[in-house]
Amino acid sequence: MTCYIDQMLRVGLLGAVLLLGAGLVVFSVLGAIERGRVSRSRLRAFARRHRLTITVDNGNRVIRYLATTRRWRTTGLVAGLLGSVGWAWWQGGLQFTFLPLFAGWFVGALVAEVRLARTSFGTRRAASLESRSPSLYLPRTAWWLGPALAVASVAGAGYAWARTGVWEPTVWLLAGAAVVIAVVVNRVQARVVGRPQPAEAADVVAADDAIRSRSLHVLTGGGVTLVVYCVLGQLAAVAHLFGEAGSTMQGVVVVGSLIFPIMGWAMATAKWDVIRSTTEIESW
């Protein structure tokens, strides 16, 4: 018994050391790659999605945004990868699963938005008297999609319990996770809309609007995908309780887990015109 424990400790310790080493290597390589480099094609893609004209005055703002978000999203992705591999190693195997990677990436995206909200003010401050609302930056339905799905997740858990009379802790855990994700995403989205806007030239304000819109699209696409994964997990957990309908539910889970990330990606990269950003500025 003691020998077995010693062996497990040695394997665990070796795994942890290897994992730490791999993490350090990956982070330092990513850090070297990511340090503020934004390709011209990436900048063009951003400008195209919002019909934004990049100018001398707003270019740096967009580049800074793209660099910051990419750095944090990549960091989250790597953390998710290391966490996933580390956990699998701890369990005595080695496997890659999509969900921890995606969840890590999304947490990175959330952190990036929180960091972008930091602003310093001088003694002379200016602000526009134009109101900003979420619908300026994102379709109204997309704004409420995550919370609606979270409510559906809780309702679905209740329905499954009432119908089968079986208490499945996993189903309620996933419903709770869906609610937490929806609330966190909604709060960060509200923070993105509410963060200070510079009262500057039209091209700078247009870039700021485009940045807000892109952030909201990414948060919505990622958040909705994660909530949908919770719902699919619930379906998978209760499928065996529903007899023949259970196999259909399993099919929905398999197809959904392939389709919904693609839909989330499409939502995150969708084009959006912030109406007041269409002012024509000198071409780039």
Binding site: T119, R124, R125, A126, A127, L129, G194, P196, A199, A201
Partner: protein, 124 residues
């Protein structure tokens, strides 16, 4: 439309906001039914506490220039009295005098001072 606040000014920030918004309403630049930004938004944009902006809005409401309704926000009401052309000109002249005084104190010639005004007008 832009409001500016100077935190080093002896005039309290809420009064600076109130005076500027009142001037814009009086001059007809902010017509009736115009919706003012939510208190939180304006406070965040100016880096001020929400209470400061709330006080400015409250003072404007007491003057009868705006009305606040729950879920509808703050909107401009039809002003009982608007600034006449002469009053607008006088206010503009006063501001120009103050600007020229600063330009002279800085030793800047007329062309440079006028160019700075033109650049700022173009920027906003």
């Amino acid at each position: 439309m832009i409001v500016e606040v100077d935190t080093t000014s002896p005039t309290p920030p809420y009064e600076q906001i109130r005076a500027q918004v009142a001037r814009m309403i009086g001059a007809g630049v902010l017509p009736a039914e115009t919706q003012l930004p939510p208190i939180r938004q304006l406070a965040a944009d100016l880096g001020l506490a929400a209470n400061t902006v709330a006080r400015a809005y409250r003072e404007l409401e007491l003057e009868g220039l705006v009305t606040s309704r729950v879920r509808h926000g703050t909107t401009v009401v039809h002003p009982q009295r608007t600034l006449s052309g002469a009053e607008v000109n006088r206010a503009l002249t006063d501001a120009a005098r103050a600007y020229v005084t600063v330009a002279r104190q800085l030793g800047v010639d007329g062309d440079v001072a006028a160019a700075a005004v033109r650049a700022e007008l173009k920027r906003r």
